[in-house]
């Protein structure tokens, strides 16, 4: 069945619509199609986190933190304390919030994969690891350096198979095994406290003239050193990850496919980019082109904003730079190893988890007050007819929240501004938020809810959002 016409191309030439009755009929027809479509899919049930596990992880992390702080020597104690406390704040932010996934099934699945790695790499067994999925949207995984490792939902939904996930885990385990984080902290704190640095700082502070320029050079030099060191660590972690992975039976080509994927990870992962003119277009409230009209960028020449980026610029803006170089360093070794399996633990669950994580991270975005990205994913799901009822409900809820926030002049805290680092279709949504007026948000949500009312019959929370939208409209 092809539903796309009935859903998104719902606007018809005026001449063809003679009576309100026809409109109602066509609306009923199109939404009935959607309704029929949605009956085939069960309503999404959110993951249920294991709060005891979360508490236990946090307790472990706290105990470790206390031990670390208590063990600090006198030397540069304040600096270490400042850094360790900042790091622990990040860890607490993850483990004490709804961001960390401790749903038994998802968590158990991740531990099973971890076990596949540690079983064949005994040197990793001794590590005290707290490995979790997180509901964060950005495509990344990280090791905090004190045992907490996380794989973001935003990365998981992009991975193709367990082999790629295994590489990600091996890479983060390698960072932890090699103690990169703590070594970097030590090295950088020592650099900041070195006689050479202190003498230079003292000398600059006494300068009456050109002090700013000299300070800039010194800061650039030292931060360049920090970053160079960080890139060296990435290469070393890749090397160790390969060593760990090749014993697991997983296909090491997953390293190359994963790095290739990371290279393009900022591109849209949906079948087609978000087309706002379609998802927000209704017979009696057509999409307004002025919402996304491009402004003349008079200063674009200053940064060649409209010109294609150079390869170097493009790479520097990526979430994961240097992927090509990283592949080149490992390619020969990988090709020398016999091909393994792409799935060992559970292919079906892996694919299910990817779908679930799209909803989970979208909902997390709402909780984290990142409304623009929350709506972006909801609209993409609506466009792709994935998790239809969830996406419709979330859009109605999001538009009501956008209205209330804009009314209180706080919308700027919930939506981002257009940026070169974002996908084109996301930038269009941001532009729309930038331009749409308060009363237009109210109108849009009313027509949106009305259009999907039949389909959403019985969906918890939708009626409440629709009533709210109607109330807002009459204010």
């Amino acid at each position: 069945m092809n539903y796309s016409l009935s859903i998104f191309e719902c606007h018809m030439p005026e001449s063809k619509i003679n009576t309100g009755f026809k409109i109602v009929l066509s609306l009923l027809f199109s939404t009935l199609h959607l309704w029929a479509y949605n009956q085939q899919k069960p309503v999404y049930k959110f993951q249920q986190d294991d709060s005891l596990l979360k508490q236990s992880y946090f307790k472990d992390a706290s105990a470790q933190q206390n031990k670390l702080i208590n063990s600090l020597g006198k030397e540069y104690k304040d600096d270490y304390k400042y850094i360790y406390e900042s790091r622990f704040k990040e860890v607490s932010g993850l483990l004490q919030s709804s961001r960390a996934v401790t749903d038994p099934a998802a968590h158990q699945y991740l531990q099973s994969i971890l076990k596949k790695i540690t079983d064949v790499n005994p040197e990793l067994k001794a590590l005290q690891v707290r490995l979790v999925f997180s509901r964060d949207w950005w495509p990344n995984a990280y090791s905090m350096g004190e045992g907490t490792l996380a794989v973001n939902a935003g990365l998981m939904i992009k991975l193709n198979n367990e082999a790629e996930l295994v590489f990600v885990l091996c890479h983060e385990l390698a960072h932890f095994y090699l103690d990169h984080s703590n070594k970097a902290i030590k090295k950088n704190v020592e650099a900041l406290n070195s006689t050479a640095f202190k003498t230079e700082m003292k000398r600059i502070s006494k300068q009456e003239y050109n002090a700013g320029k000299q300070l800039d050079s010194l800061v650039s030099l030292i931060t360049y050193g920090f970053r160079r060191h960080s890139r060296e660590n990435e290469a070393e972690a890749d090397k160790y990850a390969f060593t760990f992975m090749k014993k697991t039976g997983y296909d090491c080509n997953g390293i190359i496919t994963c790095l290739n994927l990371l290279d393009k990870v900022d591109d849209s992962d949906f079948s087609k980019p978000l087309i706002l003119e379609e998802v927000f277009n209704f017979n009696d409230y057509p999409f307004k082109k002025k919402w996304i009209q491009k402004e003349s960028m008079i200063f674009s020449k200053m940064t060649n904003d409209d010109s294609p980026l150079t390869a170097k610029e493009k790479d520097s803006l990526k979430t994961h730079p240097d992927c090509e170089k990283r592949i080149a360093l490992l390619a020969d070794s990988i090709h020398a190893v016999a091909a393994g399996k792409t799935f060992i633990v559970n292919e079906t669950y892996f694919n299910q988890l990817k779908k679930d994580f799209l909803v989970e991270m979208t909902e997390q975005l709402y909780k984290d007050k990142n409304l623009s990205r929350n709506l972006y994913y909801c609209l993409l799901m609506l466009q792709d007819k994935e998790n239809l009822q969830f996406s419709i409900y979330s859009i109605a809820r999001g538009l009501n929240r956008a209205y209330e926030s804009q009314k209180d002049h706080r919308l700027g805290t919930l939506v981002s501004k257009e940026g070169r680092e974002y996908a084109d279709d996301y930038n269009l949504l941001l532009r729309m938020f930038d331009k749409i007026r308060l009363d237009e948000i109210a109108d849009l949500n009313n027509y949106f809810c009305r259009y999907y009312q039949l389909l959403m019959t019985g969906y918890e929370g939708f009626e409440e959002e629709y009533s709210k939208a109607k109330k807002i409209k009459t204010q």
Partner: protein, 514 residues
């Protein structure tokens, strides 16, 4: 610095940060003139911020001119070294080029630097050397900048071609004004300074239309002349040659405040009018007028709306023609919407007795403070049809504020004082008007001060027109910042700038208006 570097350590070992607003660090001093919106017409295209970033030697500083786009993305940082005595006075954008006016208080020079939209400085600059007399005169007028409230702006863009500058000037013993044109197409400049037939001249830029630059001029016969001649002059944009001089007496005596191109590309000047025998400098105005004018100074049409008759139908106007409590209206802007309606955006003002001035006069006899002061009252928006018939008028309440005047203004007329309030005292609350390209919406912005139960502090207010519907909104701008101010942003938004003196930080973020 130490914390900054430690933070860098944390960033390099863990996460990436994403920013939506912008913060300048290590800012020791700020002034309104060191930052402004860069506009193309009423459309905000970006912002500039001018800061001293280093001391090079005892006479030289390093300056950084940072240019941002209208999403607050840093587009260009222009660093240069110059005398420690320079300051930035104002900027303007003509759709293709930016002009920045710098003042060197030691060398007594103005320097106009021009940058293309690519951020590259043009090979030429325009300079003006001030005499000691001129410097003194400008210091009491245009350069009266050290209070941050001064809003005098004298640089006007000519689309894609150059800029007009209008500044007070002194020629020998005459007090006059100087008009300069600075081309951005090639190095070309002309200057016009009226000195003939009078001892004192005051000139206001009205606008530009079809290669002609229009000015309203008041010519005083002597230093103590209280009854000036009023006339409009047209200057050829190419040569600076005066094309016409048109007295503003017709059916009534007219005192235009501005020019707008309305009704399918026709030029109209508008402002208050008086009886023919009245004195523009002293008497009370009768109402509000529009003149259609062509490039030769020929008056094509006249329309007069009196305070008591035409406006009185819509507002409570008393017998003397004074709108009750509102006073007279100073029109800040005029805008024509896509349906042909014309909206005048004005603000009320009235002269009232100054207790401070009276007391000072009684006590010292030679007080510097006038016995009258100006009370700036509410905002008003008048809707006209395309023939300038009044269709609607509405007053938007705000708290009034009082402007104490220097002595000598006791017998000066309202419209003249209003211009002083506008250009020298920065006393009006009106900020700016913006419209979209298809003229289906516009927003009028002004500041206010609220003493309510829930909030006491300054607010930034708006009156918005969108497809025939008018809404109002206000943003509370009081915060923990040492100082905060508001700059225009894209239509329907404002940029709030906050300076935190203790942290030496200048923070900026957008807010949407409803």
């Amino acid at each position: 610095m130490r914390k900054l570097l430690l933070t860098v350590v944390i960033i390099t070992i863990t996460t990436v940060l994403y920013a939506q607003s912008y913060t300048f660090q290590n800012i020791r001093k700020t002034s309104h003139r060191s930052s402004d919106a860069i506009k193309e017409g009423t459309d905000v295209k970006g912002y500039y911020f001018f800061n001293v970033t280093d001391k090079i030697d005892k006479n030289t500083n390093e300056y950084t001119l940072s240019i941002f786009d209208n999403n607050l993305k840093l587009m260009k940082e222009i660093k240069f070294q110059d005398s420690k005595y320079i300051s930035i006075l104002e900027s303007s954008f003509n759709g293709t080029d930016l002009i920045f006016l710098f003042y060197n208080s030691d060398a007594k020079t103005f320097e106009y630097q021009i940058y293309g939209a690519d951020g590259k400085k043009k090979a030429y600059t325009y300079n003006r050397q001030l005499t000691k007399k001129e410097k003194r005169y400008l210091e009491s007028t245009y350069l009266l900048v050290n209070d941050d409230e001064n809003t005098y702006k004298g640089l006007y863009p000519i689309d894609g071609r150059g800029f007009i500058s209008n500044m007070p000037s002194r020629e020998d013993k005459d007090y006059t004004f100087q008009v300069d044109y600075f081309s951005t197409e090639k190095k070309k400049q002309w200057t016009f300074t009226p000195t003939e037939g009078g001892k004192r001249f005051s000139g206001d830029y009205l606008g530009y239309f079809n290669n002609v630059v229009y000015f309203e001029v008041l010519r005083f016969g002597g230093a103590f002349d209280q009854k000036p001649d009023s006339y409009i002059i047209g200057l050829d944009l190419e040569t600076g040659k005066q094309l016409f001089e048109k007295p503003t007496d017709a059916k009534y005596r007219f005192y235009p405040a501005s020019l707008s191109v309305l009704n399918d590309g026709k030029a109209f000047i508008y402002g208050e009018y008086f009886d023919l025998n009245d004195n523009i400098a002293k008497d009370k105005s009768k109402g509000f007028a529009f003149w259609g004018i062509d490039e030769k100074g020929k008056i094509m049409s006249e329309k007069y709306n009196s305070w008591d008759l035409e406006l009185g139908k819509f507002l409570d106007v008393n017998s003397k023609g004074k709108i009750t409590d509102f006073g007279y209206m100073f029109v800040h802007n005029m805008i024509q919407t896509s349906d042909g309606s014309i909206y005048a955006i004005g603000e009320g003002y009235k002269k009232v007795a100054s207790a401070l001035g009276i007391a000072a006069t009684l006590l010292t006899r030679n007080s510097d403070i006038s016995t009258i002061k100006v009370k700036v009252t509410d905002m008003m928006m008048i809707k006209f049809d395309k023939d300038f018939n009044v269709k609607e008028a509405k007053i938007y309440d705000k708290n009034s504020n009082n402007i104490e005047l220097q002595s000598g203004y006791d017998f000066v007329s309202g419209p003249l004082i209003a211009k002083m309030i506008k250009y020298y005292y920065g006393g009006f609350d009106y900020s700016y008007t913006q419209n979209n390209k298809d003229l289906s919406s516009f927003t009028v912005c002004y500041s206010d001060y609220v003493r309510g139960k829930g909030y006491k502090g300054s607010t930034f207010n708006s009156i918005s027109y969108n497809e025939g519907k008018i809404t109002t909104d206000k943003i509370n701008t009081k915060s923990d910042a040492s100082r905060s101010w508001v700059l225009p942003a894209k239509l329907g938004q404002v940029l709030i700038i906050e300076y935190f003196k203790k942290d030496k930080q200048l923070e900026m973020h957008f807010e949407k208006l409803n």
